[in-house]
Homo-oligomer: 459 residues x 2
């Protein structure tokens, strides 16, 4: 296999990210999330391991579906308390040279003018190493914190998102021409006003008039990430995203999603090379298979049952506290439960999926595969996923922070490097260049954002 | 004089901050603002100089009153382009241990739930070294960028601000009890849900329901800065601010403002010790008086006439492009001009203030004093200001970045230290403790924000 595979570390500015309860493990350090040293150390570790990026998820709101209240989430530190992801980037950028930074930034409760301003700032201070994970908030708890009685309807959120990113493109791509900044100390001109244009946007949701506050950053539009699996979400991702997350418990499930999204992208005039697809993957590495398995069994002891179901409750809207832990899901005849069960059953049809079983399955690494084995076995499993699904990379989730990443970098990355799957060293350039090739700093011509680029005729 | 005097560096994430045109000086480095190394070096320099804080101004919008367009501001880099101030803090916090960070964060175009979340994050990652400069946006250009046809009326902005900070206090002070976070790995409890309370705010401008997303940060409410000189603004500052900026060209002018605001604060039940007052001050230091004067004359050559008037136009709403540079202001009989002139005339009654003269006066350090002299003379002048005005500290503005700070730290700070005016070394503690004394981490009891603190009865 000669495909170049991309690696992101999957994390969040909170405790135990996708492994609820594991913060209680003696080796876990994720409760150091408030300490900027912790993040700097992580970024340096990832750069030593030649990771392409650190991807920071974010959730605005709390998981309060379980028991109809946030208590289980609070008690088990299930993505609450949480700190803002954007604000820790500059320290990590200062301490590294190549690592990319993916930041999740929900557009639902933000003005496009400010979001574009902040992401341009990050693109400047990282020297072009930033990507934006475009999300629309999905929790009712968040909506209430912003003065709404409940969440904006799903499809409407995507209509807003469509106009929102359009405004951002206008600001990022169309406001300052490439040669607007002249920085001429002799002539005393910093920028040529005739080459800085106000955006004039009048839309259904936003009216924006004025120049972008930032001069052009290395990438202008940050690399765009998205994770949309609903019909509307997939259409949005296929149109706008340069990198897409598709999660699932088995490669066969993910293969189907990959196929659908690539077809959709093709319909939108984009090609396979324009989009990199990532899936979540949690590696539990041991020197021997037995050691790895023992490690996994030890980790599982620390899973918080209630924490895992809080998380799953937030994602699915199902209050699992209503069911007995040993109840088998196949006998709970609600559409929601059956839809959730489908994902688990496809991954492992021979298992009797009880409520407890799905809590344990979700309790390490979230809704995605946990690979347990020797370094070679892990590498094989990753190749297996690539072959079956056609994905381009992985979001490596952790059971223990930073232990999971440390083990993966120490034992698995060298094998992936030997096999020529991942980079042995960084190339120069921005995040977009590193993902898509030399000179590809900016959005490609077939991307909807590029329509606002100011083309110069060659006179 | 035995008064402890506080020093902030006054800066902004842009070029030439309050000294329009001086970026063209060969020694100026402010055009490195996009480089995070630049900010880390500055923070380290200030910490070497035992500065109390780095204060970052911010403006959302562009200065487009001059000639009715932003061209002069763009050409001369007058606070545009500009990067976001919050996003550079973590790198500086990581590289320093004691320096405080004042961030300007306009509330006009932000949700209180998000602003509170972001400032709590900063307070965590700085280990309690953050302050919030509360501002309401004042530029029409900004309003248009956020979908309004023009700026919200001044008094209404303060009504919104009043409710906005009230929501923030509820989130910061009242949501998580002091002992809510137990972090007990044995019992597997991170936080006690019975000690985490949702905010239930229903107001005229905001409805906010939900728990604060962040666990309590070292200071909870960041140190509150404000600069209000209008009647409404002064009332707001006297009620909420712990540190206040009052600018003026002469100590006599500032003395009047200090007196008014202290009286107003007293009326609100607060005492003199609860509020520190700062004024802007730009030092031009030379070994001899002649050298300092020569330096000042050299610097003045780099002032941008149009840039200075763009800045002043934004602050005052007056389009100075309509007047001849040599026209004397006393003969321009508009209320606005006469009101602006008053400040300059009080500072220097013997001067014929032409349009050009006020451009030059504003062109270094903005609307505040420029002290030119030997280190001793500068120190004397600072003592003079303290004696006449009763202020507690200075916002040191720069003519050249970082040269002005470097000179001040090398030559003036040691003299101020000898005289016992500024600290020779840092004390431990948060920013609020450093400003107000040991143990004073939190808002004091007579502050309106403290009403939401959850007091425990001693049973």
């Amino acid at each position: 296999m000669s495909k170049r595979v991309y690696l992101n570390a999957f994390d969040m500015n909170c405790i135990g990210h996708q492994s609820p309860g594991l913060w209680t493990h003696p080796e876990d350090q994720s409760d150091r999330y408030k300490d900027i040293d912790y993040w700097v150390e992580l970024a340096q570790l990832l750069e030593e391991g030649k990771f392409d990026g650190l991807f920071l998820a974010d959730v605005v709101g709390v998981y309060d579906v379980y028991e109809g209240k946030p208590d289980a989430a609070i008690a088990n530190a299930v993505q609450v308390p949480v700190n803002d992801p954007l604000l820790i980037i500059s320290a990590m950028a200062h301490a590294t040279k190549h690592l990319g930074f993916g930041v999740t930034y929900a557009l639902t409760y933000e003005y496009p003018y400010m979001l574009a301003h902040r992401l341009s700032t990050l693109d400047h201070i990282t020297k072009g190493r930033v990507s934006w994970n475009i999300v629309t908030s999905y929790l009712n708890s968040a909506a209430k914190s912003f003065g709404l009685t409940k969440q904006i309807a799903h499809d409407e959120r995507y209509n807003i998102a469509e106009e929102f990113v359009d405004v951002c493109y206008k600001l990022w791509e169309g406001s300052w021409e490439d040669d607007a900044v002249v920085k001429d100390k002799e002539r005393r001109i910093y920028a040529d006003p005739s080459k800085v244009h106000p955006v004039e946007h009048k839309g259904k949701y936003f009216n924006v008039q004025g120049i972008h506050l930032n001069e052009p950053s290395p990438q202008r539009t940050p690399v765009l990430f998205q994770a949309g699996t609903s019909t509307k979400g997939r259409a949005f991702a296929a149109k706008h995203a340069e990198c897409i997350f598709l999660n699932g418990l088995s490669p066969e499930i993910v293969a189907g999603s990959v196929k659908k999204i690539r077809e959709e992208a093709k319909n939108q005039g984009r090609s396979e090379e324009d989009i990199k697809i990532f899936t979540i993957f949690t590696p539990i590495v041991g020197e021997t298979e037995e050691q790895a398995q023992a490690k996994y069994e030890d980790l599982k002891k620390y899973i918080s049952y209630e924490g895992a179901l809080s998380l799953l409750g937030g994602w699915t809207g199902i209050d699992f506290s209503k069911y007995d832990p040993d109840q088998e899901l196949e006998y709970i005849e609600t559409d929601a439960i059956q839809s959730v069960l489908e994902g688990y059953t496809k991954a492992n049809p021979n298992k009797k999926w009880t409520v407890r079983e799905i809590a344990i399955e979700t309790g390490i690494g979230g809704f995605g595969p946990v690979a347990v084995g020797t370094p070679e076995q892990i590498a094989d499993e990753m190749e297996n996923w690539i072959r079956i699904t056609g994905i381009d990379g992985f979001n490596i989730a952790y059971a223990l922070a930073p232990g999971t990443m440390k083990d993966f970098i120490t034992y698995v990355v060298p094998i992936l490097q030997e096999r020529g799957l991942v980079q042995a060293d960084y190339k120069a350039g921005t995040y977009r260049e590193k993902l898509f090739g030399d000179g590809k700093n900016k959005l490609p011509e077939n991307h909807p954002g590029s329509q606002y680029q100011i083309k110069k005729s060659l006179v």
